[in-house]
Every structure is written in structure tokens, then in C-alpha cells.
Symmetry: C2
């Protein structure tokens, strides 16, 4: 197949949009802002889900399921949450359709109007805390460590596949604790879990930190986040974990009797990652030839393509490859043999390059005679000849090597694109010309943050966890500052 | 814990409702008709999902994800589908909320009215076939063998946890084929997959068959189903698989070029099972002591409860049990050690009985001395003493035995409750007094079917696949009939 993919240098944004569609990951649907996740894209998402779900369970969490709909009045209960979330929402007002009297089709039955409108969940804190009230009486009932995999809807005006869609898939963890310390520890733990997942599975290096007040989740006292840097120098927030204090417990009256028998409000966290991670994965590693997938998340890790003339040669290759496939599968390698007779090898090579399959074996009659295979790797586009008896070990080694090398390359890029800047003119110029991460001093006020955003489009991505104490002055206001924060333009 | 569970004999329906809540499976939410699936209930559902998903993939299917919302106009396109599905639906009419001008809370922003209303999917044929039009051009693009795990909403007026809820979780397979034969084969295959799952994992015996025209899915040419019989003599439809003919392809103009280059409409199937299976699972096996779970779907297969006095004894037992747990886990047994000091052993025994944990080991100081364990099984409530060195094999054997014995018991019940009846008076009396499955002759008309339902509340559950050819006369009309069909009152 011919790729016809716009290059990154030419138009990064166009490259991304084309790649998502051409690599068969997702496409826009007939419903404004909602995507269809195609089999190949969904297979990657399933691998992400599986790894994350295992990590959540290893840290003591269980899955649950709460309703899709939230009564409108629930949103009014937590003051800051309402302004953050109850705005651009899908609102269900009726529960019946009927045939139009003039025979023109179906219409909404005005007699079936809900007494109270239902909101399609944009996030589930409100309905979950309304339920936790019934589940928590005593300190013995705590902690509640629950997570749900669900779809949510936020009526975004400008949407892009995976990065910003009206409906998206995610997981949302919602935990309840007896003490503030325990809740903070949980919120921090989940940030670390997300970072670990991003780095080990996605091969995406991230900066861990906390959000400025202006960037915090609506209703949170602290938002922890992981931030990744894309190849165009823009940051992407890849996961957030919130310490919610007692805000939702107070809003929904969730109290518990402590060991001394006194009533206290419960402490909360919530944390989530979404199909947006697909965007981060795609944009971190892929190139002008198409997708590049880390082996840990690749639905197909190895593709085998026969090179042949005529049915007889193909039959011979089929017979030779069958035990090879069985052996790879047994070793846990996810392998595909593409012996479609409707497409030429060159077409197939292009297709699997576009789809980011990490390794490819091409095998023809001459290879059979020589006892070798031609093994190609997707990230470097290099080829090597491997002796037949060494192929299994070599494939294992290369898959491991690629996983590490994709991470190393991305980390090298991120480090190269992270600079410290101390004056505002340079800051503006840098944001305008190069982008990337900029470590700069900030006076800690929302006013300065807003001005900088207005003038440069850069936002504070986070206050890095490991930011060293350092006397300095705010690049914008010149007021004193104790540590640098991380600025970038962001998705 | 004290169970306080209504007995089945006293009030079967009340028993079920109480059990679902007391066994911590699910509860009603603050949103009319929508349930909260609690961690223990969700863990069972996850086990079901995992097994089914594996079976779908083994039969060549891949997962995808289509939008939650469907434009209203899509429903008008398939004539019979609209009357079946586009009625009791949640309708999204607006996409924004705002603060009320009088400060009374939040209200729907009337300026944010959708041009076309969106329906929360009650099932996804319409949006999927609208998309398949773009995915299918040639016979080379076929078949499409896709499935999605999703939530759907049908505005049911009378709801019951798991059995009938406004929102429920399910999977829906949607396949596209080049020929009628292939599509029929697919629909039949998925009925067999569902039956296999129900029998092997849920230990629920089912009758396979096809639906009468009146009971068919809206838009289907044939509906295959599996029907189970609950302990109160009522049937429960546990899964359906539909041969949709070319109805959706014609409605959404999905054509392909066949090998001869001619344009043909594509053939379709769809098939689904839902959280309703949880209801079937609960009602088939459970008893007046609570839930009884088949080992294959039990989140906890074995619970170990220490019997002790004082911390010293407990510490000794803890130390003894640790390697036991590790060994069980290694053997793939999902085991829980409940050494909570806040509850007495009797309370714990009751709790795990209520939750249907298949096996329980109680272990005290005397057992340590004797080198034995007391092993209790949930289904028969019997206990045995097992020598310490035989415990692993015995647990494995018992788990296997229970899985089989639950199925055998349920099958025995189903067979005992299935009778052939040849006159309408007996039929009416039987349906009124005993219920169960009744095999009877039917003249094949919708009129007769409707009358029988009006007069007896029994419906035709299915025309069994294995119904032998047999000359007879319809119990209602006396007209000739060629085989018996399966009647029952149903959930």
C-alpha cells in the first residue's frame, strides 16, 4: 500500500490526523465529536487497560460500576465542581420518542419529559459520593479503594481523535479514607502508578508534579499529574490524580465514626487516565513512515511475510512457517503470518510499517536454502540476517531492546527540549520559536500565570516534584520565587 | 453476620431482591432504574467478560468501540427496528447547563439546543451499519467480525437489579458477510458459543432454539436464543443471536462488489449478552443461605478462616497459613485469608455463605496439632476433615466436582420441570400451578401465540433446535402442527 502520509516537518498536526486514520486506529463518526475506535486502535487500548487494571489491583483497588446518568441537582452540591464540570454537558431531557403525526418520521414525545434533567457523566465524583454516604458509617468501612472503566462525555467544541473527543473512554478511581495523610498518600501513589505505566509500557518519559491552583481539577485541593512532551514541542497531560480533601464528603454529607466514636468527614481522592493516552503514544514515537509502537503495547509484535512466486512456493513456505508461528506463540510473542495472495510483499511491508508492527520477518525460498531469515525492525528501519536457529532469541532480545530504546530516545529528546530560562524576552522568543519544556521562576500568583498564557500561550504544566529549592525571581513580575516551574504550550 | 434472608418458598422475588443487595452484588442508585454494581458483583461480571471475550476472539472476532449517541434520524431508516427500539429511549436535547439567573442553582441553557436530538444507544445496529458503509467496498473487505463491550439504555418502567435496568452493561457483536449462508452460520455459531459459556462457566443448562416471529429482534429475519429455567419455574432468556438478512445493509446502503464485480447488499448478524446473565447465575444456583457460585466464576474460590483465642494463637495461625496461601495461588486457586480481628468466625462463616464462596477452610490450634483441616463446601453445606498433605488435591478436586455438580443439579431440575402437554385445559392449569417449561404443539400463528399469552401469561420461549418432527395439533386452535415449541412464563 502507498502511505501518502504528510511528513511531520511539513505539518505535524496534519500528520497526526492522517496517521490515526491511515493506521486504522480511529475515525470520526456521524455524531459530532464522537469517534469510532477501530479494531487495531482498540487492541492497543485493551493492552493499556489490561496493564493498568493489573497495576490498580496490585495496589488494592477493585472495580465497580456507577450509572451513566447523574441528576442535575447533584452538580450544584460541590461549589467549585459545578463551575468546572456542569457546563458543557450532554443533557437528557426526555425518555420517549414517537411517530410524528404527519408521518414524517420520529419525534420526541413531549409528554415524556423528565422531572429532573439527567446529565451524561463528565466525571463521576458526584454520583459516587452520593452513594458512598450509604457505604460508610465507621472507620472499619474505610478505605474504599474503587475504580471504574467507563465512557464519559464532555461537550468539547473543537475535537481531535483521541486527544479531545466529546465521548471518551477512561478509568476513574474514587477512594475514601479516614485520614488526610492516607488520602494524600493514595493520590501520590496513583501519580506514581501512572508514571510507571507511561514509562514501562508506553515508553513515554514523563515529568511528575503538582498543578498550579488555576490548573487544578474542579473540587480538588491538590492535583498531581504526569506531563509528556510531544515531538512538536507541545506538552500533553497524560494522567491526573487528585487529593479532594473533604470537599465531596461535605457536599454529600459522608461522615464516619472514628475509633473514638466521633463523627468526621471522609477524605477523598480521584484519579484517571483516558483514551487520550493513545494520542500520547502515537505522537511520542511515530515517524514519517507511520506508527511506531513499543513492543509492550503492540497488538502484533512480529509479522511474517512470505516472498514467493506461485502456489507451490507459497505452500512450501506455509508449511515451513507453521511450526515457527507455534513456537513464537508459545514463547509469548504475538505473531501474525500474512500469506494473503491478494497483495504483494511490498504492499504488506508498507502496511505493517504504517501500523507500527515492531518486527518483520521476510522469508523466501533462498532463505530456506540458506537457513536464515531477514529480520527488520520498525523503529530504526534496519534489517539483519539471522540464522534460523537463533531467531527466537534474537526476536526476544530485539523486542526488549526496542522497548528500552524507544524510551531512551524519547527521554533524550525530552531532556534536549527542556531548558531553564531566566528572562521574559527570551522566554517569549523560545516559546514562539521552539516550544518544549521551559523551567522558569514564577511568583505563584494566578494573575502572572494568566498573563503569561495570554502573551505566550504557554501554561504551567506542573510544579515538578523534584524541583530543587532555588532562590530566584519570577520571569514575569520579578517577584521572589523559591523554585522553578515547568512551562509549555500544551494539547 | 446474621443473614435475615427471606426464604425462596416464602417469596422468591423478595428472596432475589434481598440476596442481590445482601451479598453485595448491586444496589439501586439515585437515578431511576439505574444500578450501582458493587465490587463483589463486578468481580463476577469481569470473570464472565473475560471468559466470553476469549471465546469471541477464539472465533475470530475483534473488539471495537462505537459512539454512545445515535442521531435520531438513524432510527427511522430500518422500518421494523424503529418500532422495536426507538420508543423508550433517553433523549439528549441540549449540550450546556448554566447558572440560573435567580441564583437558584443550575439550569439547562436553552440556547444550547441540538439541531438533531441524540439518542443514548439502546443497541447499536444503526450507527454501526452507517459506519460499515464506509468500511465495505469489495468482497475482500468481508467478513467484518466485530464486537463491543458497552453500556446501553432502555427506558424500562419496571426495573429489577440485573434482570431489567434502564442502563445495563453488555457486549454486542455486529458482523457483516458476503453471503446469506455465512451470516446464518455466524448467527448459529454465536448461539452455540453463548450456550457453551452458560453451561461450562455459569453451570446453567440452556435450551437452544429460534424465536417465533413475534418474539424476534426488531429488524431480524431469525433470532436464535438460549433459554434457562429459574428455580421458580420461570424462564430467562440468557442470550440472543440474530440473523439480520440484508435489512440493515439496505437501510444504510451497504453494498460490496462480489468476485464478479457486481454490487450486492451485505448480510448481517448481531448478538449480545448482558449483565442480565448475573440474574440467571444468581437465580439458578442460590439457596436460602445465600448465593451459590460455580467455582469458574467465583471471585474467591476458597476462604480460610482462623479459629483462635488471643493474639498469640492468631500469630501462630497466620504464620502457618502464609505458605498455604502462596501454594494455593500458585496452583491458580483464588484464595482469601480472613484474619480480621473485628469479627468472630461464626460471623465470617455466615458472610462467606451469603456470598457463595465455594470452599471454606476453618483452621484452629487443634487442626495444627492433628495435621488436618476442616473443609466445608457451599453447595451441599457439608464438611469433611482433610489431611494437611492432601489439601491441595482435595481442593482442586472439589472445585471441579462442584462445577459439574451444580450443572447436573440444575439440569436435573430443568428436565424434571419440562413436560409435554397436549390439551389446553391442562396447559392452563399447569402454567397456573407449576410453571416450568411446557412442550406443546402450536399452529405457527401470531394470533394463537398472543391469545395464549393473554390467557396464561406464558410465551413461546423458543422453537427448540432439536425439536423432533412430530404430527400434532395446536393446543389452542386444534390446527395441525409439525413440532412442539417451548412455552413458559418468563422474566
Amino acid at each position: 500500500m502507498s502511505k501518502n502520509l504528510t511528513s511531520r516537518a511539513e505539518d505535524y498536526s496534519k500528520w497526526y490526523n492522517e496517521l490515526v486514520v491511515k493506521a486504522d486506529l480511529a475515525e470520526n463518526s456521524g455524531v459530532r465529536g464522537c469517534m469510532v475506535i477501530k479494531p487495531y486502535g482498540y487492541a492497543i487500548w485493551e493492552k493499556m487497560q489490561q496493564a493498568l487494571d493489573g497495576m490498580f489491583k496490585d495496589t488494592g483497588h477493585q472495580n465497580v460500576y456507577f450509572p451513566l446518568f447523574i441528576p442535575k441537582s447533584y452538580f450544584s452540591k460541590e461549589a467549585s465542581h459545578v463551575s468546572g464540570f456542569a457546563k458543557e454537558c450532554a443533557v437528557v431531557t426526555h425518555y420517549r420518542l414517537k411517530n410524528a403525526e404527519d408521518g414524517s418520521g420520529i419525534v420526541v414525545d413531549e409528554n415524556a419529559k423528565l422531572e429532573e434533567e439527567l446529565i451524561v457523566r463528565p466525571t463521576s465524583e458526584t454520583i459516587i459520593w452520593d452513594t458512598y454516604r450509604k457505604w460508610v458509617q465507621s472507620y472499619r468501612d474505610l478505605p474504599l479503594l474503587y475504580n471504574q472503566w467507563a465512557n464519559v462525555v464532555r461537550w468539547e467544541m473543537r475535537t481531535r481523535l483521541f486527544l479531545r473527543t466529546a465521548e471518551f473512554l477512561w478509568q476513574e478511581g474514587h477512594t475514601a479514607h479516614a485520614t488526610k495523610e492516607e488520602a494524600i498518600k493514595e493520590a501520590e501513589q496513583m501519580m506514581h502508578v501512572y508514571a510507571d505505566f507511561a514509562q514501562r509500557y508506553m515508553a513515554v518519559p514523563v515529568i511528575k508534579g503538582t498543578k498550579s491552583e488555576a490548573e487544578r481539577f474542579a473540587g480538588a485541593e491538590e492535583t498531581y499529574c504526569i506531563e509528556a512532551l510531544m515531538q512538536d514541542g507541545k506538552a500533553l497531560q497524560a494522567g491526573t490524580s487528585h487529593f479532594l480533601g473533604q470537599n465531596f464528603a461535605k457536599a454529600f454529607d459522608v461522615k464516619f465514626a472514628n475509633r473514638e466514636g466521633q463523627q468526621e468527614y471522609v477524605w477523598a481522592t480521584s484519579w484517571g487516565v483516558s483514551t487520550r493516552l493513545m494520542g500520547a503514544l502515537i505522537m511520542t514515537h511515530s515517524d514519517d513512515n507511520g506508527l511506531v509502537l513499543p513492543p509492550a503495547l503492540a497488538p502484533i509484535q512480529l509479522v511474517i511475510v512470505p516472498i514467493y512466486k506461485g502456489e507451490e512456493q507459497l505452500a512450501k513456505l506455509d508449511a515451513h512457517v507453521a511450526p515457527l508461528i507455534a513456537a513464537f506463540k508459545k514463547r509469548g510473542v504475538s505473531v501474525k503470518y500474512d500469506n494473503r495472495d491478494t497483495h504483494k510483499p511490498g504492499f504488506k511491508f508498507n502496511e505493517y510499517e504504517l501500523k507500527g508492527v515492531p518486527l518483520r520477518i521476510a522469508i523466501g525460498e533462498r532463505d530456506l536454502e540458506n537457513g536464515t531469515y531477514e529480520l527488520a525492525r520498525r523503529d530504526t528501519l534496519t534489517k539483519e540476517s539471522v540464522a534460523a536457529d537463533a531467531i527466537y532469541d534474537r526476536v526476544d532480545a530485539l523486542l526488549e531492546e526496542m522497548q528500552q530504546s524507544l524510551f531512551d530516545r524519547a527521554l533524550e529528546y525530552q531532556e534536549a527540549q527542556t531548558v531553564s530560562i531566566d528572562d521574559y524576552a527570551s522566554f517569549k522568543a523560545h516559546m514562539n520559536d521552539k516550544g518544549g519544556f521551559v523551567l522558569a521562576h514564577w511568583d505563584g500568583t494566578a494573575e502572572t500565570e494568566e498573563r503569561i498564557q495570554e502573551e505566550t500561550k504557554a501554561t504551567i504544566r506542573c510544579i515538578p516534584l523534584d524541583a530543587p529549592e532555588e532562590e530566584g525571581v519570577c520571569i514575569y513580575s520579578g517577584k521572589p520565587s523559591k523554585h522553578r516551574v515547568l512551562f509549555a504550550k500544551a494539547y
